[in-house]
C-alpha cells in the first residue's frame, strides 16, 4: 500500500509510518521462531520453549481459589450482578474509590508497609505501557530526553518515544561492578546531553531491574535523588517488579527514600506501577501512575481518559486486593515459588558452568554467556543467539536488545512455565553444553574456550540463512510481536 497518493500528498502521519513502534528490533525476532514451533509437552515436545516472556505464571492456583470463594467480586455472577449497572456506567477518570484504596494499600504492603500511599495520587493508565507514555506526555516536549541506565527494557523505546517524540539517552552500566548505576555514569550521560544541546527532562529507573533481576541499593537510590535534585530534573521509578523480590536484601522503594530528607523536591518524583508482573495479570491492563506532583496528578488524570482501566476489572481488583488475608498469603507464596524457580535454574545452569548475575528479583535471569562468544561483538552475540533458538530451541533475549553495552549477556525468563517445562529447558541446556563442551567438572575457563572453539566450527552460514530467523536488518516487515509487553 502506498503511503503517498498519486499527487504525492503523504496520506498518513509520520508516526503511523516510522519505526517508532520499535518492533523492528531483533528482540522480537525470536518470537517468530517460537510462534512457528511452540513447545508443548505432549503435542510438540521438541518445539521452541518460550523464555523471552517475562510473565508470572506461578500463582494462578491461588487466585483461582480466591475467585471461587468470592463470586461477588465479579459483576457477572449472581452474587455480583446487583452491581452490574453502576459499574458498567462508571467511567469517572478518578477511578473507583475502592479500586484506588485497594491499590494504594497493596502497594504499601508490597513495600513491607514501610511507606503509605495516598489513594488520591493514584492515576490509572492502560497498563504500564500506557503509564510510561502518559507520564512522558506530562513531563516532556518533543525532543526532550530521559536518561536511562543500560541494559533496559526494550519496550521503553516505544513507550517513551514513539508518539511523544521524546528521546532516551543511555547511562552506560558495566558488569565490572554488577551493572551498578553510578553517580559518575549519570553525570557523564548528563554532560553528554548538555554538550549535544539536548534538554534532559528526567531519569528513568526500573527497580527491581528488568533485565538484570536485581534491586537498587539504598546508596544508589540516594545518589539518584541527589542527582535529580541537583539538576532539577524528574525521576521516574518503574517499580513494576516490586513484589517479585524473593530473597534478601529487601526491596527499597523510592517512596522510602523520599521520606528520608525533607530537602528532596517531591514534585520531581513519580512511580510507575502495574499488576502485570506482581500478580500475573497482564491481560487486565491495570497500569498506575503515582506522582508526588499535584500538577502531574491532575494532568495525568485527564490523560488517563485515553486508557482507563475497565470498571469491571477495577471492581474485581478492588475486591481482591482488599482481602488482607489473601494478599498476605499470596505475597508470601509468590516470593517462595519465585525463589524456588530461581534456584532450580541457577543451580541447573551452574552445574554446566553457566553463571548468572546474582539477582534476587524479577521473573528472569541475566545469563552470562560472554565466554561462549567468538569475539566480543554484537554480531557474535547474535550468532550465538540464533544457535540457542535453532539448536537448543529456547527463545531467550539477547542483551543487545536491551541496549546492553557488553555483548554476551542474555535474559532468560523462568516464571512463565510449569515445573515440567523447567526440567526440559534445563535438560536441553545441559545437553547442548555437554555436546559441545567437555565434562561439566572441568575448570570453567577451559570449558568455555573449548565450547567457543566448537561453536566456531559450526556452519554459521547455515545458521544465518536459517529460514526461521530473519536478519534484524531485514527490510521485510516483521510483526512477530503479539505481546504488548515482555
Amino acid at each position: 500500500m502506498s503511503y503517498v497518493s498519486s499527487n504525492r500528498k503523504p496520506l498518513l502521519s509520520r508516526k503511523a509510518t516510522n519505526d517508532g513502534h520499535a518492533e523492528k528490533s531483533p528482540y522480537f525476532d525470536g518470537w517468530k521462531a517460537y510462534d512457528k514451533d511452540p513447545f508443548n509437552p505432549t503435542q510438540n515436545p521438541s518445539g521452541v520453549i518460550q523464555m523471552g516472556l517475562a510473565e508470572h505464571q506461578l500463582c494462578f492456583d491461588l487466585v483461582q481459589e480466591w475467585l471461587v470463594s468470592n463470586p461477588e467480586a465479579s459483576i457477572c455472577t449472581k452474587k455480583g450482578v446487583d452491581k452490574f449497572r453502576d459499574i458498567a456506567l462508571f467511567q469517572d477518570y478518578h477511578g473507583l474509590p475502592a479500586f484506588r484504596n485497594a491499590v494504594a494499600k497493596f502497594m504499601g504492603r508490597v513495600r513491607g508497609d514501610k511507606v503509605k500511599f495516598d489513594p488520591d495520587r493514584i492515576v490509572m493508565s492502560g497498563g504500564a505501557t500506557g503509564a510510561h507514555e502518559m507520564i512522558t506526555f506530562c513531563l516532556a516536549d518533543p525532543g526532550d530526553a530521559f536518561l536511562v541506565p543500560t541494559p533496559y527494557y526494550a519496550g521503553f523505546d516505544r513507550d517513551l518515544c514513539w508518539r511523544t517524540e521524546a528521546r532516551l539517552l543511555p547511562v552506560v552500566c558495566h558488569s565490572s561492578n554488577n551493572f551498578k548505576v553510578t553517580r559518575k555514569a549519570l553525570e557523564e550521560a548528563y554532560a553528554k546531553a548538555v554538550e549535544a544541546n539536548i534538554s534532559v527532562k528526567g531519569l528513568l529507573l526500573t527497580n527491581p531491574s528488568n533485565p538484570l533481576g536485581t534491586i537498587l541499593d539504598r546508596d544508589t537510590l540516594r545518589e539518584a535523588m541527589s542527582f535529580i535534585n541537583e539538576k532539577n530534573i524528574h525521576l521516574i521509578c518503574d517499580e513494576i517488579y516490586a513484589a517479585t523480590v524473593f530473597r534478601q536484601p529487601d526491596f527499597i522503594s523510592i517512596a522510602e527514600i523520599i521520606e528520608e530528607d525533607q530537602e528532596y523536591n517531591r514534585n520531581l518524583v513519580h512511580i510507575i506501577y502495574s499488576l502485570s508482573k506482581d500478580m500475573g495479570f497482564p491481560g487486565f491492563r491495570v497500569g498506575i501512575v503515582y506522582s508526588y506532583n499535584d500538577a502531574v496528578v491532575e494532568c495525568g488524570r485527564k490523560m488517563s481518559s485515553f486508557g482507563l482501566v475497565s470498571s469491571q476489572t477495577q471492581y474485581l481488583i478492588a475486591s481482591m486486593l482488599s482481602d488482607d488475608q489473601f494478599i498476605g498469603k499470596f505475597l508470601l507464596e509468590s516470593a517462595g515459588r519465585l525463589a524456588t524457580r530461581h534456584n532450580d535454574f541457577t543451580d541447573g545452569l551452574c552445574q554446566v558452568g553457566i553463571k548468572c548475575l546474582n539477582g534476587n528479583a524479577g521473573l528472569f535471569l541475566w545469563m552470562d554467556l560472554r565466554g561462549l562468544l567468538m569475539d566480543s561483538t554484537v554480531e557474535a552475540e547474535t550468532a550465538l543467539w540464533r544457535v540457542i533458538i535453532n539448536d537448543v530451541k529456547l527463545n531467550v533475549s539477547p542483551g543487545s536488545s536491551f541496549h546492553c553495552s557488553e555483548p554476551g549477556w542474555f535474559r532468560v525468563c523462568i516464571a512463565n512455565m510449569n515445573e515440567e517445562t523447567t526440567k526440559v529447558a534445563l535438560a536441553r541446556i545441559r545437553e547442548f553444553v555437554l555436546r559441545n563442551g567437555n565434562k561439566p567438572n572441568r575448570k570453567e575457563k577451559c570449558w568455555q574456550s573449548d565450547l567457543r572453539l566448537r561453536l566456531s566450527f559450526r556452519r554459521i552460514d547455515d545458521v544465518l540463512r536459517s529460514p526461521c530467523i530473519m536478519s534484524p536488518h531485514s527490510p521485510i516487515p516483521q510483526s512477530p510481536l503479539v505481546r504488548t509487553r515482555t
Partner: protein, 469 residues
C-alpha cells in the same frame, strides 16, 4: 513548577474548562436524588443509555458459566489474565463485527481482521488522528460537535480542528459550500487538511445523515484526496426513520477506487449497550497501514481481557443481540417522545431527530439577545434556578446561540417527568416576567464565571492561548 512540565500538561487543550464539564462539576456538588435530594440538579448533560440494563442482567442470570471466568465449565482465568495480545481476543472481534453488521441491517459486512480494539472511543479517535495527522495538520468537523473532540483529537496529537459551519436554516445539514469554506479557512491558517470527521448519527443533533450528505462527503474527500472518519458510536440508537445509512454502505460502491483506503469508522459499546465503564472502542479501516499502525498504538490502551471475554459471550448470542437492538430502540423512541412532547407543551421545540440519547433543543426564543453571552446567562439560570444540567450549544461549537443538548436516556421516567415540569415552570415564570437576576443570587461563583468567560472568548476566536503547543 508548571514550567517543569510539558507544554501539553500546561495548556488547556484538554478542553476541561469548557462549560460542558463545568456543568458537571455543579451537578456533582448538588446531585438530584428522588428521595435524598429531590431539589438537586438533574443530570441531563450525560449521554448515557440507562434504559436497557435489565436485558443485560437477565442475560447474565441465564449465562452464569461465563461469569466465573469459565468456558464450558472449565476455568479459563489463567488464559484471560495472561492474554495481552494487541490483536485482541479473536472471538470478541468476530462477535463485535457481527454486532456492527446487525446494527446496520446486515447491509454491510465487516472483516474482523480490519478492526482495532481500543480503550473506548476516546482512545479510538485519538489513535486514528495520531495515524492521520500531526502538528500543522487540520481535521474538518461539522458544527455543532461533541465537546470531547477538542481533547481527543487535538491535545496530544498536535492536530487542529477547523469547523464546518452548519446552521439551523437547513436543519444543520452539511453543505458543499460549508465544506469548501472550512477547507479554505484551514488553508488561510496555513494548515494542511488531512481529513473530515463526522459523527453519524450526530452528537449533539441526534439526526442521521442523509444520502445526499454522505454522497457530498465522498465527493469532497475524493476531490481533495483526504480521509473521512465516521464516528458511528450512536449507530445502534436509531429509533425511527429515516433508516440509518453507515458510511460503510456508501463505501461499498467504491471498492476498487483509491478512496477505499481513506474511509474509517470509529465505534464503541458505550452508547448502544450502555457500557461506558468497560472502555470498549474500535477503529475499523480497509487501510492495512492504518490497521497495522493503530494496532501497535492500541498497546497504550487495550481492552481488558476480562471485558473482552464477557462481551464475546454476550454478543455471540444472536438471540440476545436481535432482541436487545430492537427493544433498546423502542425504549429510546418512547423516551425521546416524552421529552419532545413535554418540551412542546412548554413552548419549546427540538430539532427533529431520529437517533441518539439526547435532543437538540431550541431555546433561542428564551434568549435576551441573540448572543452567546445571553446563552450563557440562560444556561446559568437553567443550571442554578431550574436545576437541570444541560449542555449549551457553544460548548458544542454551535455557531448560533440558543441551542442546548438535553439528554433523556440517563434517568428514570419519573425523573424525566420532573425535569419537564421544572422547565415548564421556568418558561411560565419567564413569560410572566419574573425573571430572576443572576447578579443578586450569585449562584455561579466568580472563578467559575471567569473560567467560562475565558473559554468562551477563546472559542469565539478559534485561538489557542500563547504557550499552548
Amino acid at each position: 513548577m508548571r514550567l517543569m512540565l510539558s507544554g501539553k500538561a500546561t495548556c488547556n487543550s484538554h478542553g476541561q474548562d469548557s462549560s460542558y464539564f463545568l456543568g458537571w462539576e455543579e451537578y456533582e456538588k448538588n446531585p438530584y436524588d428522588q428521595t435524598r435530594n429531590p431539589q438537586g440538579i438533574i443530570q441531563m448533560g450525560l449521554a448515557e443509555n440507562q434504559l436497557s440494563f435489565d436485558l443485560l442482567e437477565s442475560w447474565l442470570s441465564e449465562n452464569q458459566d461465563i461469569a466465573g471466568f469459565k468456558r464450558n465449565g472449565k476455568s479459563i482465568f489463567r488464559e484471560l489474565a495472561l492474554f495481552q495480545d494487541y490483536h485482541g481476543l479473536p472471538e470478541f472481534k468476530k462477535a463485535l463485527v457481527q454486532f456492527m453488521e446487525e446494527i446496520r441491517g446486515n447491509k454491510v459486512s465487516f472483516d474482523p481482521n480490519k478492526i482495532v480494539l481500543t480503550a473506548g472511543a476516546t482512545s479510538a479517535n485519538e489513535t486514528l488522528i495520531f495515524c492521520l495527522a500531526e502538528k500543522g495538520d487540520a481535521i474538518l468537523i461539522p458544527t455543532p460537535y461533541y465537546p470531547g473532540f477538542d481533547r481527543d483529537l487535538k491535545w496530544r496529537t498536535g492536530a487542529e480542528i477547523v469547523p464546518i459551519h452548519c446552521t439551523s436554516s437547513n436543519g444543520f445539514k452539511i453543505t458543499a459550500r460549508a465544506l469548501e469554506r472550512a477547507y479554505q479557512e484551514a488553508q488561510n491558517r496555513n494548515l494542511k487538511v488531512k481529513g473530515v470527521l463526522v459523527t453519524n448519527p450526530s452528537n449533539p443533533l441526534g439526526t442521521t445523515m442523509t444520502q445526499a450528505e454522505l454522497d457530498l462527503l465522498m465527493d469532497f474527500i475524493i476531490e481533495k484526496q483526504i480521509h473521512l472518519v465516521s464516528d458511528e458510536i450512536y449507530s445502534g440508537t436509531v429509533f425511527s426513520s429515516p433508516n440509518y445509512t453507515s458510511i460503510m454502505e456508501v463505501l461499498s460502491k467504491y471498492e476498487k477506487a483509491e478512496v477505499w483506503d481513506r474511509v474509517h469508522v470509529v465505534y464503541s459499546l458505550s452508547k448502544d449497550l450502555g457500557l461506558p465503564g468497560f472502555r470498549v472502542g474500535a477503529i475499523y479501516s480497509n487501510n492495512d497501514s492504518i490497521v497495522a499502525a493503530a494496532t501497535k498504538m492500541s498497546s497504550f490502551g487495550l481492552v481488558s481481557s476480562q471485558t473482552q471475554y464477557f462481551l464475546s459471550a454476550l454478543l455471540s448470542d444472536k438471540k440476545f443481540t436481535k432482541n436487545y437492538i430492537s427493544e433498546n430502540k423502542k425504549r429510546l423512541k418512547k423516551r425521546h417522545a416524552s421529552l419532545v412532547s413535554g418540551l412542546q407543551n412548554a413552548g419549546i421545540s427540538c430539532l427533529e431527530s431520529n437517533a441518539g440519547l439526547f435532543s437538540w433543543v431550541d431555546m433561542r426564543h428564551l434568549l435576551k439577545s441573540n448572543t452567546f453571552k445571553a446563552e450563557m446567562e440562560l444556561w446559568e439560570k437553567i443550571v442554578y434556578d431550574v436545576k437541570l444540567n444541560i449542555s449549551p450549544g457553544l460548548s458544542c461549537h454551535c455557531s448560533e446561540p440558543g441551542w442546548f443538548r438535553v439528554c433523556f436516556a440517563n434517568m428514570t421516567e419519573e425523573t424525566l417527568e420532573i425535569a419537564i415540569q421544572r422547565i415548564k415552570a421556568f418558561v411560565e415564570s419567564v413569560s410572566r416576567g419574573h425573571d430572576k437576576a443572576i447578579g443578586g443570587k450569585k449562584c455561579l461563583n466568580i472563578n467559575l464565571r471567569k473560567k467560562f468567560s475565558k473559554w468562551v472568548f477563546r472559542l469565539s476566536f478559534h485561538d489557542r492561548e500563547a504557550g499552548e503547543r
